[in-house]
């Protein structure tokens, strides 16, 4: 355990902690919103697959000396689109397509980075480094998160319709392909942003945990979305402070916090069922 007052110097707070807080809250918000749709559409793994692709691209970008985020985001968006089409059309099945595609991209990235002797430079994207984000990264993350949020809110009703019953939406004349693509693009952006803070290995659980916990607690779509946002942001805050206090990895602490809340809500649900009997 560390003495918090010793770490929390004014300088640390303003240059490291505050930017991390702002970026973290913004990305947690986006991740939880999209997570609800992904979980309900039964494609939770797409977040995981995209994070592998993202990590592979990051490795290549760093090896070639390009700006990591600005290169990775477009590539992951294109991959999200391809994955979506693959799971729509192929006989392989969505999850198999995701697994093949994402591990290949990951392997390619690792190959390039090992050839360029970069393995230590890129390894912090594996586990995330929210406290090491530059000011530019933070501003970039916050702007993109706001865009994701606005688009999500603007299309909220249609995203509900497409998530609840794709065939009905398509049959009654809604452009389902466009909205699926929209969800995929938003997911891609969120995954890359989240990867910088939580790491490629943990970002998909940032999307899935709050959604699953919220679904245990709420019965309405709007309620689930709201609860997921609240759970996600509070778990992030608690996880971050816990990691400072106990001097542990930020990403892992946030996920374990999510796990604790999930366990508590499962228990609550069980008790409710018992009481209902």
């Amino acid at each position: 355990m560390t003495d918090l007052s010793a770490i929390l110097t004014p300088e640390f707070v303003s240059t490291v902690l505050l930017p991390a807080l702002i970026a973290g809250i913004a990305v947690s918000l986006c991740a939880s919103l999209l997570g609800v749709s992904l979980v309900l559409k039964r494609c939770s793994m797409i977040g995981d697959g995209l994070s592998h692709v993202g990590y592979g691209t990051l490795c290549i970008a760093v090896a070639l000396g390009w700006a990591p985020m600005q290169v990775t985001i477009p590539v992951v968006i294109v991959c999200a689109y391809i994955l979506l089409r693959l799971s729509e059309n192929s006989r392989l099945g969505g999850d198999t397509a995701i697994a093949l595609f994402s591990t290949s991209a990951l392997a390619l990235g690792i190959l390039v980075s090992s050839k360029a002797n970069l393995t230590t430079d890129v390894s912090h994207y594996m586990f995330g480094s929210i406290l090491a984000m530059t000011r530019g990264d933070v501003i970039f993350s916050v702007i993109l998160s706001i865009c994701v949020l606005l688009v999500y809110l603007l299309f909220y009703d249609k995203i509900f319709a497409v998530t609840f019953d794709e065939n009905f939406a398509r049959a009654t004349g809604l452009n389902v392909r466009f909205y699926n693509l929209l969800i995929a693009v938003l997911t891609a952006v969120t995954v890359v942003l989240g990867m910088m803070m939580m790491g490629a290995l943990l970002i998909s659980s940032l999307m899935i945990f709050p959604a699953v916990t919220a679904m245990k607690l709420c019965k309405r779509f709007r309620g689930v979305v709201t609860a997921a946002v609240v759970i996600s942001v509070s778990c992030f805050l608690l996880g971050l402070f816990l990691s400072l206090w106990l001097d542990t990895a930020v990403g892992a602490s946030v996920i374990l916090m999510n796990l604790a809340v999930f366990a508590a809500s499962s228990l609550l649900q069980m008790l409710r069922r018992q009481a209902g009997k």
């Binding site: 603007l154 249609k158 609840f164 065939n167 049959a171 009654t172 809604l174 679904m215 779509f221």
Partner: protein, 265 residues
Amino acid sequence: MAYITCKDITLRYESLTVQEHLSFTVEKGDYLCIVGENGSGKSTLMKCLLGLKSVDGGTLTFGDGLKRNEIGYLPQQSQIQRSFPASVREVVLSGCLNGHAIHPFYTKADKARADEQMACLNITALADRCYRELSGGQQQRVLLARALCATKKLLLLDEPLTGLDPLVAAELYGILRHIHDEHGITVIMVTHDVECAVRHAKTILHIGKDESFFGSCADYEKSAVGRRFLGDSLSPEHCANCVHYHSADCGCEAHRRAREEGSAS
């Protein structure tokens, strides 16, 4: 011109051709039931009508002022929907979305329309309940209300009665009759239940592996394929040889009479 005209269409399920040279029309005000054996292409046809899939040959055209975004659809319930956290109001409202492509949110008119349809189907009291906690019959009413929000003209139903007990099924048929008669909505339904189809529909489309039929209910009951299919309902208790379908050689009294009447007319 008819609402829907199908001319010489071919239906394929994956790479297997299940129907060829199928032609029929759906007029405004029609009540069409599509019946047939499993694997004859009923669901594939429904997908084509809904625009979820294109026909593999021939032409399918919409006419009489009917547009793609003016149809309502009551699907078979999938597993995803059954565990979906959504209130009844949210589900019903989502039927209104096809009306406005540009406006991002529900309008007052949409909300009024959803309320009206919920009242029509007697589910206003359930509006704030969770969809997944309702009974099968109630869920089907909710989905029907959503379909009615999406259309004033044409309603398509894909085996809406699967898994419902007979009492609830009868109730649903009553609601459909009301919607068809009072609101002037054209109905197309895919169903397994030939007996009820004949009782409620105006027109029957029977698609089979070998023979197909399209025409009025009365003609269907007289047709060879219709008699074979309906044979079961003539008087199954008299016939130990044909539990499922009336067969040509079962030799029981009721069926012999039915055959004679059929060949006389």
